[in-house]
Amino acid sequence: MGVRVFLVCAAVAVMAVASAGARPVATPGVSSDEIHIGSSVPLSGEAAIAGNVARGIDAYFKYVNDKGGVLGRKLKYTYLDDGYDPGRAVNNTIRLIQQEQVFAVFSSLGTNNNLAVRKLLNDAKVPQLYVSSGATTFGRDYKKYPWTIGYIPPYSEEGEIYGRYVVKNIKTAKVAVLYQNDDYGRDLVAGLKRGLGAKAKSIVASVGYDPTSSDVQPQVTQLKASKANVLMVFAFGKFSLQAFNAVSRLGWKPQIFVNDVSSASSLMAIVPQKAANGSISIVFGKDPASPQWAKDKGIKLFQSILRKYGNGTNSRDLKDGYFTAGMATAYTLVNTLKKAGKNPTRQSVMNAATHLTERGNPFVLPGIVIRTTPASRYPITQVRLQRWSKGAWRTFGKLVSAKPG
């Protein structure tokens, strides 16, 4: 009896405390001295290397905090591991908005991972800012998902740039395409066809692979049999490595185009250089591994920040483009938050994110202007082409547009 009375009393007490504590908060995740931002990224599993994006963001936020924060508020950053598994990304995102009470979800990584949480974030009216995926839907479908905005150039436009380049520069092109069979790979293929235009028939073979398969060597062998002289590698992470290895092993010598998200120097440096040399890709961020930027102010800033604030980073990380990519997004987020005003709300930050004109981001190529409007939600729409030679990427040509429509 005594226990039951005690339990009832305890329950009543807890409920009383809870209801007293539940004063209406103006904006979750914003206090008088702090703004709380969250991400879900792969820190384990096959795509763990890309999780360095979040570690780059973390270092940059600490640097900003040391300089006084954003309009007097410090940035608090919570990033959780999803192992590149959309199911865990859902769990993490719910944890971020319900448990951690973040102000906004920012730069979560992966096409499927972001698709999986888009509906619930929009239902909860939580900003899904600067998604780390170039799937066109994140910029295009803003009418249905007003709380979502992308960041990197849309994959479809990237494909189109490669298509246009082939038409202009390679006569009698016969194109083979290796693509990941999801929205990411299919967007690239659709863009490529648009870019080839009347010459779309020059695609002689096109083979998809499943993102959870083990090896793409069979697909590459199949593509080689088509006698193509151009190969599009629209493959992520290890699949891109395997593709280069297979090309080299088969003694095939096509002109290779490799899509931006798997063109990191750290990856390119470890594939057979026989196959890698002369490969073409697009680029929008400064590559810390390229001698081209060795004396660049932005890269120097990047390295000094990472040395000071990059918890547990080593000298190899100083040349890892994923860290730079993270800092580039973080730089844009800080500007967005400043623009959202002294007392940012979720609405005001979405407003700011869709009215950007950011010049001089130190971590992206000179001349790139990050620009958005409510009806054009693709922050980065300018890129340059780059070619791999002597163990490094070198840009060539002028800035080209990757703006949809």
């Binding site: 820190l43 384990s44 979040a54 199911g87 859902v90 319900q98 999986a116 069979n181 999801d182």
Partner: protein, 340 residues
Amino acid sequence: MRARLWPELSAFAAVAVVVALLPRFVSDFRARELAIVGMYFIALLGLSILTGFNGQISLGHGAFMAIGGYTTAILSVDGFFGHQLRDLWTIPIAGLVAGIAGLVVGIPALRLSGLYLALITFGIAVSFPQLPKEFDHFFGGTTGKILDLAKPPFGLGTTTNNWIYYLTWGIALVLLVAAWLLVRGKTGRAFKAIRDSEVAAVSAGISLPRYKTLAFGISAFYAGVAGSLYAIANAYVNPDVFPIILSVYLVVGLAVGGLDSLFGMIAGAALIYFLQNHADTVARWINHLPALSLDPKQPGIPSVVFGIVLIVVMVLLPTGAGGLVRKLFGLLTSRLYTRS
């Protein structure tokens, strides 16, 4: 007989009271986490019936969870002949579909046992995730199916997470009682007889095909219900939501819980949830030990922690949580007997 009943009845009453009161003491998000523990608990109950009581090994229960999850997702997103079902009503259907799949798998299981059965079921775990990719129009491919977030029905003024919590644990308690009645009754005795010696069981007139497939079917039904709840809680399914490793985790939970201890499965379920989602917290605890420093955010650290904790738990508790409780009860009762 009555003497052996009271510990289990009082344990059940204790669990029920804790389950009913817990959400008042924890945050809304914790309620959600506890609900997911409840889902693993349901799946582990099924696995315990199959492995702990019937002696058949399954490394493929993640696939039955996937069948349940996909059944719920498809029925509530695409509907049945254009008529979308409320998530709540898809749960029993998901259980039945998975249960039928379990019966079908149970048939080859008749001819195989031990390692070979483990391999067959593992084959199912490996191949099932390929189905949604192959038939992506029906299953949604790797992009998956996005459900509406669950809302409390009948105008109940509670949060989504509390609703999912009570729904899950309500079902879990019912299924716990059902499992308990099953293993205590005639069927359960037949299961255990087969586990202990197939030859002896057959000579006692027990039909092997009947009971072995039945165990598979019941076990898969439990997994299907768990998968269905999992889909509702996450409002999302794709092949990666039910990865191959999930089947392995379930076996881990079974071992930690203690094969044939129904209550022990709660511990197993809690451990697999905790290690999957809070390995970074454990890494932070480990940092308090002298001469150790782990960066919980460093790639790979959560997996390493998962492995270490698992090894430590299995070394300390070779018979699982159930074995530990039984040992404690053994001490208690033997002392009672000696006193009287």
